[in-house]
Symmetry: D2
Subunit: 271 residues, 4 copies
């Protein structure tokens, strides 16, 4: 299966890039399924029900969220009605929605999508992601009822992300990070067959501070005092992510390559 | 000028890669000057005087350090005798050594090298890096006594790194990050001419947890309890960094491209 | 029931004060049961099996631990053999030992002792303490099989500690904090009958930096660089804690007062 | 000189207690000068110009602030016009106002008041407080132009606060902490004559979570999701702080005792 995973969609610039360019990108890459991280789709903070529907209608088969999962309050009700949206497994015991879901491609092949939040350097504390992922992966062994499994590790620290990759190695098709909004160039297949990339990067304007207009973040770093709200930068977004190719029989990866389409970053489209 | 910057050298595997492969890499890339981050060269924690000399003899013209600058105690005396080593500008008021230095290439062209520590998510608190960099950059305007200026922003948070890039934009030839040990693929020239890449990546074994052998970090993440010391992974290292090409007259960048040589990561060598 | 709870025993000075002064203090306060936090009893880091036995022989009926629970490796085996030692409920899923225990006084009255780690500002991440405490308190309602219940909330942030107090209010006899090593003077009975004090303070030398000899912590704060190991201060310790009086029928508190005995702090012994 | 220092005034309940009870408390304690921490006087976040004036008119001779210094934007202009307000020495290089000030009592005796922010566990990074305090204390030696000196160490970690006490020992009349909103019972005179207390506590309602109404903080701790804004609790406030008595000739302390007046906490008024 060919799985395209795109990182954090950042505000209007990110949504516009998805609406206008995801369909041709999907066709070009012959992706069977597309998973998109939507935690910053609405003004950079969370994702409204309306924007979630827009992303799903534009070619995403599944959305993941993150620490900003419920910043837009209507997501709290919407997520229980839309099985194609995943929030972190370890967000909070009382959180609505689900921490994993299964989506099918046009040929009926099944992909398990799950997400965990890291604990290191995060703004709020979360429960242990390793035991949470362990339970999900044990329930869905590769080569069983599902053909592939994608883990979105939404975390800050590269140490925790790499540890998650090794922890899931041989048990998931791919472990790809999100949250830092910067793509990494460490895509590789780990020793037991799991594809890994520390961060998918964001779908947003890279002439910015992690997708936000530069002025206010710079003011706060330099003066220690804020003045205005953060607003997403409005320049053309780069669609940034990873293409993972899996073996339907083993559920393991046979290839992994970064994808960068449009905007300021160097462009790369896997063959 | 063609400046090669390589990220955190990680233990024996990283040192060996520098000793064996930096000279041919330097020749292949026609680099005029080579700067190497050495903060993890000795067992992953700091850099001894002996290892610093080894790196300098192997083709590095200048070394930067980081939060681990003085983990090896003999560096505290050695740094005052070796002007080619830079420690962070904002390490501590009482720290030995210098926060910036000037090195010259074979044709006598001068490169200012400086380093600042980020404040966000770092293990210890440090003073404001923005005002520290401001003072250094004001004292060395581009197109003046120096031909180029490289800023190593040693930080965890992508937001702080990108803000540092914009803060130095038009005033430095390049701002390149270190510390996360994972290379990023966001190399670009910012709007006023400064080359930028969020992280150079490490010179280390990428079958690891940020360069450390996987077993002990995984044990600590999974059980919450440690048993052994961390030791660097011993597999073949990828030399990971950035090539920046600058205009000697303006001091600004004309090209920036990632470099990855050897080891597990996908290989890339700028033309 | 009259329950004496003493905070973190700090190194040799703390142990000596327990050995020499706990018995007369216990008699003076007519305490029916004594619970002592032992996480720093051995060199300031953890508690050996031998030191745990010493504290139990000196008049403690039950020991709690903390984030340093297993810094002394022999505790990992010992804790499974000694039912009077409690480690945090939410230390790690794979930790040995128990997160709550029941001890009986001379008249057979039962006290449940439990401990949770806070998440805010802690050196490592831990799972949610609120749901962990909820499960224990639901299983042991006041006025049921036990006569009283003491919660040791081992945490840094006063906000999280006060929230824990209110969360347990009416369900525990007392919620008393540990970990900061400084006693607080906010002892009160909350609105539904639970005694509360943000921190019991340490049993250690208060001419120190949280019980450690001043020189090395000061060096690190001032220079950013360490030189020696931390070692506990050796001056006379203050036994610092809280006396809680409970109603055996309701399990709620009828009085709560701080206790400070010996050493440098102002002395207070409840009537 | 008899100096009364009161901790963080928390919202309307705190202001009301100052307006109604500071004058009689001042008279009862025969305080020559009163310093009040005002960083939470307005809705719990910062202090407006109007509220600062109200506190000064109600009997405070000097106000200190904290990390919330400029949460109310009109303070940014007001602080430059009102020499009796001190913001942290190390807030940010570009912050308005002053980090120390001198106020005089009715007999013309001078008190230097200064404040530094801790770095450990704070929500934002700040520059090194130790070197900042060192400069101020060197410029104002005890027994010189001033009769006394009060240092407000606004910090979270007890280790950093105790280290600040020892760092200033013999050079300031008193080092008293703020920020945690919980009074500590470790008041003592350090070995070289400086009075010390880790935290003055808040002037606010202690049936709360650090002065805030309990409901919303509890919701966030338990569910991980917020719903409403934080608002200060409205029950009767305890005026909480410290009385320091100094020797005008040496500038050192001869006595230090906690003060708690009104509200829920146990009451204490030094003789
Ligand atoms: Fe994000
Ligand atoms: Fe995020
Ligand atoms: Fe490093
Ligand atoms: Fe580092
Ligand atoms: Fe402790
Ligand atoms: Fe602790
Ligand atoms: Fe405050
Ligand atoms: Fe504060």
């Amino acid at each position: 299966m060919r799985i395209l995973f795109l990182g954090d969609v950042m505000g209007r610039a990110g949504r516009r890039a998805i609406v206008e360019r995801l369909a041709p990108l999907r066709a070009r890459l012959k992706a069977d399924l597309v998973v998109v991280n939507a935690e910053n789709a609405s003004g950079g903070r969370g994702c409204t029900a309306g924007h979630a529907q827009l992303l799903l209608e534009s070619g995403a088969d599944c959305l993941t969220l993150g620490d900003h999962a419920f910043d837009q309050k209507d997501m709290m009700a919407f997520i229980d009605r839309e099985p194609r949206i995943v929030r972190p497994l370890n967000f909070a015991k009382e959180a609505p929605g689900r921490g994993s879901t299964i989506v099918s491609d046009a040929r009926g092949r099944k992909l398990l999508v799950t997400q965990a939040l890291g604990q290191v350097f995060m703004s709020r504390p979360y429960d242990d992601p390793f035991s949470a992922l362990d339970a999900v992966l044990r329930a869905h062994p590769p080569g069983g009822m599902i053909q592939a499994c994608l883990v979105d590790i939404h975390a800050e620290a590269t140490s925790e992300k790499m540890a998650t990759g090794h922890f899931c190695d041989g048990r998931a098709s791919a472990v790809v990070g999100t949250h830092t909004h910067v793509p990494t160039s460490d895509a590789q297949i780990l020793s037991r067959g799991t594809a890994y990339q520390s961060d998918a990067g964001m779908c947003g304007d890279y002439d910015s501070v992690i997708g936000m207009d530069k002025a206010e973040p710079l003011r706060r770093f330099i003066t220690g005092m804020g003045r205005d709200r953060f607003t997403p930068a409005e320049g053309e977004a780069t669609l940034s992510g990873t293409l993972v190719v899996t073996d339907d029989r083993t559920g393991l990866a046979t290839a992994v390559e970064p994808v960068r389409d449009g905007g300021r970053l160097s462009q790369t489209h896997p063959a």
